[in-house]
Structure formats: C-alpha cells, structure tokens
Symmetry: C2
Subunit: 154 residues, 2 copies
Amino acid sequence: MREPNEMPGHLARRFQQIAVAVFLAEIEDAGFDLTPVQYAALATIKANPAIDQITLAGQIAYDRTTITGVVDRLVQKGLVLRQTSSRDRRARELTITDAGRTTLRRITPAVEAAQQTMLRGLTETEAAELMRLLRKAIAAGNELSRAPLRENAG
Amino acid sequence: MREPNEMPGHLARRFQQIAVAVFLAEIEDAGFDLTPVQYAALATIKANPAIDQITLAGQIAYDRTTITGVVDRLVQKGLVLRQTSSRDRRARELTITDAGRTTLRRITPAVEAAQQTMLRGLTETEAAELMRLLRKAIAAGNELSRAPLRENAG
DNA sequence: CGTTATTGATCAGCATACTGATCATCAGTA
DNA sequence: TACTGATGATCAGTATGCTGATCAATAACG
C-alpha cells in the first residue's frame, strides 16, 4: 500500500481526530461539557430561531438521523427547546434557551482557543492556506456525502 | 459565532465526512465491503506479520479500545487470523489470511481512485500542498489525541 | 375531492471513537 | 520468591455518523 501519510483519507481522519480531542479538552478546561457537534448545532439554532431539524442539518452538514440524537441531548441539558410547529405539524421548531445562550457566550473563548491549538504547527499563512484548500476540496465534494451542506432555504 | 467555514474544526469534520463517503462508494462499486479503518488495519497487518494489537493501533493512530472491534470484524470476514502469542500470552498476534491478501490486492485500484476523488476540486499542486499542511498540523498535534501515531517499536 | 408523491422526524442496526474500569500476564525489584 | 508496577486486551457506557425503513403530515395533481 501507499504510505498512510501519502493518503488524503488517512490524513483527514487524523486531523479530525486531533481537532475533536483539542476541542473537548478546551471545553472541559473551561468547565463545560459540550461536543463539537453540539456546539455547532447550538450556535446555529441561536442564529436561526425556530429552525426545523432538516434545515439545521443542512446548514451544518449533519445527517438527518444524527441530528435527532444531538438535539435530544441539547434539550436534555436544557440548552434548547423543541416544539412541534403550528404551521407544519411534521416539523419541530428549535429555539435556544437562556441557559443555552449563557453557555454559548461562556464557552466562546475555549472554542476559539481550540481552533488555534489544532493549527499550532502552522504559520498564519499556512493556516489560512490549509483552510482555503479544505474549503475548496469540500465544495467540490459536497454532494458526495449523504449530508451535504445546504446553504439556505430552497 | 464565527462562520463555520472559518473554523478549522468544522472543515476537518466536513473533509473527513466526504473522504469516508467517497471511500465507501468506491469500494462498494468494486464489489467489496470494507471500511477505511478496516482497510488501514488490514494493510498494516499484511506489512507487519504477527503484529500485536497495541502496536497496530500505534501505527495507524487508532484508539486501543477501537482496535478490538475492528479486528473482530476482520477476523469474522476471514481476512485476518488472531492468535494468542506464545511469548506473551497477553498479546494477540495478527496475521493476514490468503483471503485477506486477495481482497487487499483487488481493492487497491478502488482505494487509489477514492484518494483521487476526494481531492478532485484541487489542482495537483494544491493537492500536494494540502497534504503537506495536514501532515504538518498533525505532527504538531500528535500527542493531543488519545490515539497518537507511534512510528515503531519503542 | 381523492390519490399519489414528497417531506420532517424517528427508529433499528451497525461501525467508528472515546472515557474509564477490569482482568490476566509479565517485568522489575526487594 | 513475593510484591509492585506496567502492559495487552477487553468491556460497559456514551456520542457521532451512516443505511434503510417507517410513520404522520403536507403538497401536488388530475
């Protein structure tokens, strides 16, 4: 086989593995208990009041079946409210609670620190270039996963 | 919050998500049923006959508790043999079977195709640069995850 | 209006990944 | 040799992430 270090798939797994570990460590140091996925969902719900779960999933590229469990846990922690929509009784409207807002505000420094830490081996220029290349590769492959990004309503 | 597209952690998750989807699709098209993780383990066992599970985990940066299930499935598929070591009865010696060797050989083109596909939005130069930057970031963060890379015996 | 298709959500089942614990075995030392 | 610590493997429990199915509700159409 090719060297693992020569395989983009292997590098993708390793980088993601480190990114998650760094995120969890920073959040725990800050005294909170929130996963990367839960954070992204919470921030997106705050920015889009009364968003339904499918739209939420599309905005952050989650699988629709994964979102159910993630929201379950956010609700259970009291950070999010889930209510059946009155306009479409199939849909669940998600709203951030005061506790959710407080948590989000308090963990922001830890989240930012984590983003720095996971790139600590790179110069500023290299970090920017890595992000540009990741965005470009992701854009080209967006439709290849079951959970593509869906920018807006449409 | 920052734009998700400005957060390296989010980009890492998305790129890995696409990489796995592409890998699985290519392997299935080739008529096989093997995950990225199972592939990496199988290839490493072939290259290191009688390797124990801890060393295997270190070579490809798996968590030690994850490796148990992965090897379980490789054994169940008849691709790998797991035997208690005679020199150290705590350890399990892993060996690739003929079926495992055949599978590895046959899926190699699909694996290579997957590596191409997940970078299809990038030029050759960009792809090489992305991999260089990932390797550099990973090297700097290696010790931050519970499952760091352990190059060799030691 | 009634039939059909689509959509939002959930579920069962499986495969990574991790935390932390346990167990058997081995190595080092008094 | 007996004790202590380290090591290889596994397990229980939890959280993503997926496939494919199901169910209720809505939309689209004749």
